[in-house]
């Protein structure tokens, strides 16, 4: 609770020796991580590397097995999301039978820090009709509504799990551009996971690369990116390397 | 393809088998306990003889019936309810779940024909269900026969509880319930909707069609003078109709017959009539004959077959409908 | 011989046309990129070709045979939701799908699964990651030894390494057997090297259909002063404009006027141009 008094100084996310074990094994282990303020963070890694687990731990939907994690100085608990954190899950869960207006009302009712004008502005910008049912919207429009719902609570940390996965290239570009513009003007830290490295290039200024539950690479892009290698290439090379190592150890064990 | 269906429905089939095994154990245990109770209260003879004919200790039969009738009725109710359960838990989800989860696409994009896919799923689901049903039906009947006339059997084979669990009737109901569930499943494409709608529709259809069976089997007709003493009521036949005929052989309406009977109960002077006087009065006042149409106990099997034909026929129609919808399903 | 032909195909869901008056032919041996915005009708088209959806109008043929509620034996389909029995193990699923096919090669499935990292044969399909499930589904599709492979968003839930692996598997099949592939995807950057034919669908209609190299050669990206746009001749597809500068995507452009820079578009900018045009058509209010 002490940390709460000076929330401005507390970092969005810090983790020490963080680990999460499921019945099938460790999804995340011995993770030390610091996500600095005011960054757009790319969370990348192959399927099953622990990206969703890490997001779950930040939101408090999951409890760490070992170590500890702090979000703006607080320990996330199962009681609910930290008021300054907004989370958009991969499936973009929205009530299909709600209209967009009703969805925004839902946001207002469930979030004390809700900014209705801002949310409406985002919807308007996306040209989504307010009286349309969410179930009838296209994938891109639905993502924009989910994004408005997440941004409407005025978070200081926004977590997005594969926000662009099922969008067409144009919608992808527009959503990403909106997101980054909002993050920059509002001073929000955004953590977004994605499989498509090309689209993260030039957008992210901080990178966290996970591989089989461990942090392989983390830091500001200008520090880790070798001068001439593009970010996507760098990440892909590191992933290849790690996969090859895995194969080698598995081969040695067998 | 059979293997695929078997592997997909394995859990369900194992549950069914478990039900059969557990059911058999429970029934065998209950039956032997019941036989002990019968012997210990010296009721053995009352199992085959009518209660008034067998010599038994005072109150023993009543005490036995108080203790066992409910349990026996529950056994019967299980067999009566089993077809509905088969329809709800096996028929309805059979296709609905695949359509709901989109896994039908996997089968539809292989070279197996849709009809074959459907038939193999039907067979794998239906045959074990019927085996379990018939098995349990046989076990319950075995248990009931041990109680004989001390148990629910004394009411004859035409009471709703007794009729619905004997011979081929349960199979007919089960086929119908299963096909109904499957059909509603492919139409609604939603498991829960198919389950609830299937249960409702099955109960309604069972009630609505229960009267139909009696009319489709030729009934026997008995015409006697009103004075004759007949006891078709008591030998376990299904009585469809009784009434009085006038001298011309025409049916006397219920109200008129009632009024005439009432009139004959008193003499012209207004005093109560004697039994002989009453009987003599009837032909004079126009009630010259009494008739009854009934189906004797010995023809119960015909009724069961008609029952099977009705529900089985409906089941076939529904399965044809299921196949049609599945083939058109887009 | 064409692997797939659509003649005035249309599909209506209640009041909305998902596909309208689509006509095209996919020559055998091509690797076709099926692209278009969300809701353009790509999935409907593929499902129709797989016999899962009946066209409301027109006719679809695969290898010359009309698709009539039944998939052609030489065609394999990967559904967008992957449609696998989740309670079976990978091994059991392979056996199950094999049992549902007349022509089947378990060896081929094993071979493909062997090339892919991280698929455990004894794991239940439901416990696999989305990416691994997709790879299993692709292996099963290849087990049918198809001559035409219809893939609905095969790459959407794969990580970069798995994408590379999977594309390699598909391309090897093309190299070995001359398989025709039609795949829908939003990941234009991944399509560029693997596809040689493009089918761009928008609003249920075919917008672009042809060899990628030829289509690209037919188009021009012109960059020049906004004030001078009237000098440019050709079919304008879409334009982005700043205060001074116009970037125009043109089809069959006439010679470039002076003062304009002229380049051939790459696949990404070509598709984006068409998508932008379609968005503007749908909501003219947003046009600036």
């Amino acid at each position: 609770m002490n940390a709460r008094r000076q929330p401005e100084q507390a970092l969005p996310v810090t983790a020490r020796d963080l680990g999460k074990k499921y019945r099938r094994g460790w999804a995340l282990r011995e993770t030390a991580l610091v996500i600095p303020d005011n960054r757009v963070v790319a969370l990348v890694g192959p399927n099953g590397a622990g990206k969703s687990t890490l997001m779950g731990l930040i939101t408090g939907l999951l409890r760490p097995t070992t170590g500890e994690i702090t979000v703006f100085g607080d320990h996330p608990t199962g009681k609910g999301l930290h008021p300054a954190v907004a989370y958009l899950a991969q499936q973009k869960p929205l009530y299909q039978q709600f209209t967009v207006t009703e969805t925004m009302t839902f946001g207002a009712r469930t979030n004390p820090t809700w900014d209705q004008r801002y949310a409406e502005h985002l919807i308007e910008q996306a040209a989504v009709p307010m009286d349309a049912k969410v179930g009838t919207l296209s994938g891109g429009q639905r993502t924009r509504v989910a994004l408005a719902l997440a941004l409407g609570k005025r978070p200081r940390l926004l977590l997005l799990d594969e926000p662009l996965a099922d969008l067409d290239p144009l919608a992808r570009e527009t959503v990403l551009r909106t997101l980054i513009a909002e993050a920059r003007t509002q001073g929000i830290t955004v953590v977004l996971s994605s499989h498509v490295l090309a689209e993260l290039e030039g957008v992210c200024d901080h990178l966290v690369l996970l591989h089989s539950g461990r942090v392989l690479l983390a830091g500001d892009v200008d520090q880790i990116g070798a001068d001439r290698v593009p970010l996507g290439q760098l990440v892909l090379d590191r992933m290849r390397e790690a996969a090859a190592q895995d194969q080698a150890t598995r081969g040695a064990a067998a | 393809m059979m293997w695929v269906s078997w592997r997909r429905q394995r859990a369900q089939l194992i549950t069914l088998l478990g039900m059969l095994v557990v059911g058999a154990g429970v029934i065998a245990l209950l039956r032997s306990t019941m036989i002990d109770a019968i012997t210990s209260s010296q009721l053995a003879r009352c199992v085959t003889q009518a209660l008034q004919d067998c010599t038994a200790p005072d109150g023993a039969a009543k005490a036995f019936q108080e203790a066992w009738t409910t349990r026996l009725n529950i056994g019967q109710a299980v067999i009566l309810g089993l077809p509905a359960l088969i329809g709800v838990f096996i028929g309805a989800p059979l296709f609905a779940r695949e359509l709901e989860q989109g896994t039908h696409v996997l089968a539809f994009t292989q070279s197996v024909r849709r009809t074959r896919w459907m038939v193999s799923k039907l067979v794998v689901a239906l045959v074990p269900s019927l085996i379990v049903l018939i098995g349990l039906q046989y076990l319950v009947s075995w248990w009931l026969s041990a109680a004989g006339t001390l148990g629910p059997r004394k009411n004859g084979s035409f009471t709703a509880l007794n009729f619905g669990i004997e011979h081929v009737s349960p199979v007919g109901y089960a086929l119908f319930a299963f096909a109904l569930g499957a059909f509603l499943g492919v139409v609604s494409r939603r498991t829960l909707a198919a389950m609830t709608a299937g249960l409702g529709a099955f109960v309604v259809a069972r009630f609505a069609l229960s009267g139909l069976v009696d009319r489709l089997v030729p009934a026997q007709r008995l015409e006697v003078s009103p004075a004759t003493n007949v006891n078709v009521y008591h030998d376990g036949s299904l009585v469809l109709e009784t009434g009085y005929l006038d001298a011309a052989g025409q049916l006397v309406s219920k109200e008129k017959a009632g009024a005439l009977l009432q009139a004959c109960k008193s003499t012209s002077e207004g005093t109560p009539n004697s039994q002989e006087g009453f009987l003599a009065c009837l032909p004079q006042s126009g009630l010259s004959k009494w008739y009854a149409s009934f189906i004797p106990k010995s023809q119960a099997w015909q009724l069961h077959l008609v029952d099977l034909a009705i529900f089985g026929g409906l089941a076939l129609l529904l399965l044809a409908g299921t196949a049609w919808v599945l083939r058109r399903q887009s | 011989m064409t692997a797939m032909t659509a003649t005035a195909v249309g599909k209506r869901y209640r009041t909305r046309w998902a596909v309208r008056d689509c006509s095209f032919a996919v020559p055998e041996g091509k690797v076709v990129a099926l692209v278009g915005p969300n809701g353009a009708g790509k999935s409907t088209l593929l499902r129709m070709a797989a016999g899962l959806v009946r066209p409301t109008t027109g006719e679809l043929r695969t290898f010359g045979t009309p698709v009539d509620g039944r998939i052609h034996p030489d065609v394999s389909f990967l559904a967008q939701n992957r449609s696998l029995y989740r309670d079976l193990t990978v091994r059991e699923l392979t056996r199950a799908v094999g049992a549902m096919n007349d022509r089947w090669s378990t060896d081929r499935v094993e071979e493909v699964l062997g090339l892919l990292a991280g698929v455990d044969h004894d794991a239940k399909v439901g416990t696999l990651s989305a990416g691994a499930r997709t790879q299993v589904a692709i292996a099963l599709a290849l087990g049918r030894l198809p001559r035409l492979l219809l893939l609905d968003e095969p790459l959407s839930d794969l990580d970069p390494l798995a994408r590379d692996e999977t594309l390699r598997v598909i391309m090897t099949d093309v190299a070995d057997h001359g398989t025709t592939v039609v795949m829908s995807s939003h990941l234009l950057s991944d399509l560029r090297e693997v596809c040689d034919h493009i089918l761009l669908i928008d609003d249920g209609r075919v917008q672009v259909d042809g060899d990628i190299e030829e289509v690209l050669a037919e188009h021009r990206v012109l960059v020049g002063p906004v004030a001078d746009e009237s000098a440019v001749a050709g079919t304008l597809i879409s334009a982005t404009r700043t205060e001074r500068q116009s970037t125009l995507l043109l089809r069959k452009a006439e010679p470039t006027p002076a003062g304009w820079a002229d380049t051939e578009p790459d696949l990404e900018s070509l598709v984006m141009g068409y998508l932008r045009a379609s968005r503007d058509r749908r909501s003219p209010a947003r046009r600036r």
Binding site: - | - | V31, R168, M171, T172, A175, E193, D196
Partner: protein
């Protein structure tokens, strides 16, 4: 078993089409003497396994090379180099022109020139001697 002598590297962000990259790399290998007449080019399948490109593109590039008379497709065997592009001037580490350039490069480096400077100088001089039309 006869395996391909060279391997193609496809650069996905170069903006040059895969087809052109294959042609250019094959020609370059021939020019540098890495490929001699009689050598087999990697089969489409080998290229696909290494780089996940469309095999049709590989074959199309080989057809173009064949049209230019540099290679020859033999049914069932593969595509073979028929012509040599290397000459004493380009092949081998000890080719005189190469050695001259190598010496020049060494002097540039010692003189403190960075890669960009060298590239700029090289292309400026190249453009002087080879006008634009010739390069296409």
């Amino acid at each position: 078993m006869l395996t391909g002598v060279i391997e193609f590297r496809i650069d996905r962000r170069s903006g040059v089409s895969t087809y052109m990259q294959i042609i250019q790399q094959a020609k370059q290998a021939m020019r540098l003497g890495l490929l001699h007449p009689g050598d087999r080019l990697p089969s489409a399948r080998e290229v696909v396994e290494a780089t996940a490109v469309n095999p049709n593109t590989v074959l199309k590039a080989y057809r173009e090379l064949e049209r230019e008379g540099l290679v020859e497709a033999r049914r069932g065997l593969g595509t073979f180099v028929t012509k040599s592009l290397s000459s004493a001037a380009t092949a081998g580490d000890d080719a005189p022109l190469r050695q001259e350039l190598s010496g020049w490069m060494g002097r540039a480096r010692r003189g403190g020139l960075v890669v960009e400077d060298v590239d700029a100088l090289y292309s400026a001089v190249r453009d002087e001697h080879y006008p634009a039309e010739e390069q296409a």
